[in-house]
Symmetry: C2
Subunit: 190 residues, 2 copies
DNA sequence: TCAAACGGAATGAATATTCATTCCGGGAGA
DNA sequence: TCTCCCGGAATGAATATTCATTCCGTTTGA
């Protein structure tokens, strides 16, 4: 049996994700991260040079996993409208099933801790989605605006919808979740 | 002549806002807040029992100012569509002129530090906006969805638009700012 | 047997909070 | 009018705590 040498690395990342999502950056000291991961504090420093680096790696790691999962079924050949529908749905379901990742990502993206380079790296991961926008331009399906604007307002709206759902403030059923996503489509469709 | 007793309180709040928006909660120790406010560290504790309380007060204070300013010209008598247009525009311009407040509010709202009570207090301030939604329901102007959902996705989209603008990643002119807001209206209009 | 991985106590810097002291303005008394 | 108190506001050095990081002895596994 090959003992995964990165076992502890992954455990540290997982523990950091949980603690930060639950208690914020404040409430996630290295000592607690180590404790929750069942490893020694020193071990974390075998894999990350600093806490800052750990958090940054956690962000890249999280974003990578999310985009891979979301684009799992994506194909450049499917009809554009159908691709959008699927994309929306995947995002919603991913975050509903992984609320800690949403919480962490939102905290980090909104904090001044994130560097321009990391932000760029994050949007590079979303490149396939940019291709989807490209595919939509020819048949004139979308409003005549820069992709960045369309992308930003869509993503903002979807995330807001998910946060509302997760907050439990409103009772959701399949219907009004679907209705919400349709409304968001109306925002960008020509 | 009443000597402003709250001079220093306001100075502390202002300094905290600036530091947090620039460097995050981490990068805003009480010592620096005091220094930037040109007051003693101990003085802050005359007005707030703890840093946590200071930050909470800053949030309420900020949100109050924002909503008051945004609703400045609002009237229940104006046509609904016009009220929405104005509301959108006011929000956009307020935050563009006060980016530090946006940065702080987004950091705090996305962090687990915020309490349920504070969140509630924040949405209580937005009550007049709920009235606007109420006014829109009778003439069937909006999609048939719970207000909370409509409100959330609109606000999410607007904030995303503003953040994009402030990031400088996309060149904005009056046209595509206006186009963005129209797109957001399409999201909720029936 | 040895090198790499690990653990967690030790370290020192940073931080929030406290508190003894200073400062200041506005009466009281002469 | 001038001097002397007085109370509360303000201060920032001192304190106690927390935290990231380091160090070194132990364990692991090849």
């Amino acid at each position: 049996m090959t003992p995964k040498l990165t076992d502890k690395k992954a455990a540290a990342l997982k523990a950091a994700l949980e603690l930060i999502s639950e208690h914020g950056f404040h409430g996630a000291p290295m000592s607690q991260i180590a404790q929750r991961a069942n490893i020694g504090v020193g071990t974390i420093y075998r894999y990350f040079n600093s806490k800052e680096e750990l958090i940054n790696a956690l962000y890249i790691d999280t974003k990578t996993r999310i985009t891979q999962c979301i684009l799992r079924k994506y194909s450049d050949n499917a009809p554009v409208r159908e691709s959008f529908r699927q994309l929306f749905s995947e995002i919603v379901h991913y975050y509903i099933e992984h609320p800690a990742e949403l919480s962490f990502a939102e905290q980090y993206e909104n904090s001044p801790l994130i560097t321009a380079a990391t932000r760029k790296e994050g949007s590079r991961l979303a490149e396939p989605i940019m291709r989807l926008f490209q595919r939509a331009i020819a048949p004139n399906l979308l409003k005549d605006m820069p992709f960045e604007i369309l992308g930003a307002i869509i993503y903002g709206a979807i995330i807001a919808l998910i946060k509302l759902y997760l907050s439990g403030a409103v009772k959701f059923n399949e219907e009004n979740l679907e209705a919400g996503l349709n409304a968001i489509w109306d925002m960008i469709k020509r």
